[in-house]
């Protein structure tokens, strides 16, 4: 069991349901269970990679964790304080400490204001710096993020995708946060630019003592940057382990299938791919018991009836599967 508030950032029983409304009176006829009762923690200064297919709820997890979306249920504790409560009391404290970097380098910057204002607006709002000092601070921050200081007078459309992503990173780090949700920050970039931005994120983490939740659908990207990796399937986290353990000793059948799908650049290696049958079920009507039982090659009777606990299988290796439950 993961105790609320026991670690640097703790998420306990987090749920986010989106109601499906129909008819003239907008009656709720069901829920899309985007995030359905997940618990995990992130340790200080580590990077937790959150991996899953599109639609599995990983982005919603990031948004709900920051309370950009109101959680349906469950709590997030950051350094021992409950984020939801703290937001009502001291919203600035939450917002300054917890930030987000977005996926779409085109949609995430306001096209009407220049880079200095994009990066510096919140800094000025919180009164950290003003006037000339603010200007210098922004210039310095841009430089840190691999941009030129004079870029601060330009507008977003004058930049390439990679540069825009750097601006987004500068904006997120301008308030000197401690925890950053990176929501697929390199997925929209060319492969050649991806590694540059990933390395930038790594360097900044070192320098500014950051803790990341790194959301991605790309296992190789996550492997590059993460300390621990979590796998999400249909609103649930099914496995979470340290990087080495995760790749050397994957437990959950879904994880095994995912890992076997990573292409290996060796023509002589015999492929032992696990091919999954069928499609991901709808999160509006998830299967009973274990969410994965409809596609799992090892599904048992029990899997249809009961939901497996997400529990530590020893040595910090969490998995939700009856194959490993004592």
């Amino acid at each position: 069991m993961i105790e609320p508030g026991s670690e640097y950032l703790t998420v306990t029983n987090l749920k986010k349901y989106f109601p499906i409304r129909k008819g003239v009176f907008k009656k709720t006829v069901g829920n899309v269970r985007a995030v359905d009762d997940i618990s995990f923690f992130v340790r200080e200064r580590e990077t937790l990679g959150l991996v899953g297919e599109s639609g599995c709820g990983k982005t919603t997890t990031g948004r709900t964790l920051l309370h950009l979306l109101e959680p349906t249920e469950g709590q997030v504790h950051f350094r021992g304080e409950e984020v939801g409560k703290l937001l009502k009391k001291e919203p600035g404290k939450v917002r300054r400490n917890m930030q987000i970097i977005f996926q779409d380098p085109y949609g995430s910057l306001n096209p009407r204001i220049n880079v200095r204002d994009i990066v510096g607006e919140a800094v000025r709002y919180y009164g950290l710096y003003q006037g000339r000092e603010l200007d210098e601070y922004v210039a310095e921050l841009l430089q840190k993020c691999g941009l030129r200081p004079e870029h601060r007078f330009r507008y977003p459309h004058e930049f390439s995708g990679g540069q825009r992503q750097r601006i987004g990173i500068a904006r997120a780090l301008a308030l000197q946060p401690r925890f950053v949700v990176c929501d697929e920050p390199v997925s929209a970039l060319d492969v050649s630019i991806q590694s540059q931005v990933l390395n930038l994120l790594k360097d900044l983490q070192e320098e500014m003592l950051l803790t990341y939740l790194f959301i991605s659908h790309d296992l190789s990207v996550v492997r590059h940057i993460s300390d621990r990796i979590a796998i999400m399937y249909l609103g649930k986290i099914v496995e979470l382990a340290h990087k080495r353990e995760f790749f050397d000793n994957p437990l959950h059948p879904y994880t095994k299938a995912l890992l076997s799908a990573i292409p290996v650049p060796d023509p002589r290696r015999k492929s032992d791919r696990v091919i999954l049958e069928g499609d991901v079920p709808s999160p509006a009507t998830p299967p009973s018991g274990c969410r994965f039982h409809t596609r799992c090659p090892f599904a048992m009777e029990r899997c249809k009836m009961e939901e497996p606990l997400f529990d530590d299988n020893g040595s910090d290796h969490f998995v939700a599967c009856f194959l490993y439950q004592k």
Partner: protein, 299 residues
Amino acid sequence: MDKQKQISRKSHHGNLWFEAWLRFKRNRLAMIGLIMVFSVIMIAVFAPYLAPYEPSRQLIWTEGKAAKLASPSSAHWMGTDLYGRDIMSRIIFGSRISLQIGIFATLVSLIIGVPLGALAGYMPGWVDDTISWLINVVFAFPFILFVLAVVAVFKNPSMVVIYLAIGLVTWVQIARVVRGQFISLREREFVEAARALGLPTWRIIFVHILPNAIAPVIVQATLGMGSIIMIEAGLAFLGFGAQPPTPSWGLMISIGQKYLATGHWWWAIFPGLAIMYTVLAFNFLGDGLRDALDVRLKR
């Protein structure tokens, strides 16, 4: 260093408005619309200098007869009406009435439509439901009837009443556009980023959403100018708009059309052409603005 900064600043005045202007300039119809609108404005501003006669003066021929219903000639390019007034002078002064109505009624519709549309678009739930309901009611109501009712409430329809009445009907067009913009912008990541930074709601609305929503509003308001001028003409035609002896184009058509059958075509046709020219001008301009400001086409 300082000089270099200035240069880089100057060469990259990458303002979206400036880029829109560059696109606008390349569009021939848009430029024609702009010139046409500009010409109407100039005529309105310099009416006293351009009009050959006073608009309401009843002219007398040199031989002592009233210059009634004179056909177009070198002295009266567009002829005179039943009262011996010079039609061209009345049309020139009439441009002031039409522009006034267009500008002030549009202002009224913006003042009502922008905040209500913004509110509806930013706050889903009962706020949006209520405002959307109101918009639909106004849309469904026959607008001429509504304007007539408002005008009728005030016994003596002054121009201000007419601005208000037209504005009270046309704001729904603006509100719809603003609402749609807010709904789509609300979900954009840069707005989410502003919320994640903990910026206050008013800053999010005024700094991050409104400036991005303004372009379609400008287009809608410009196109709306044309239709408002038409509405005013229609009201005047029905006798509920400008009252005689105001040189309103609609009023001139209203009275002049009775003389079409008797061959005095100039009384109604020329004001009609003036309305057409002005409405066309605003429509060309509006279309051009839409093409120039549409961010969806680029990005």
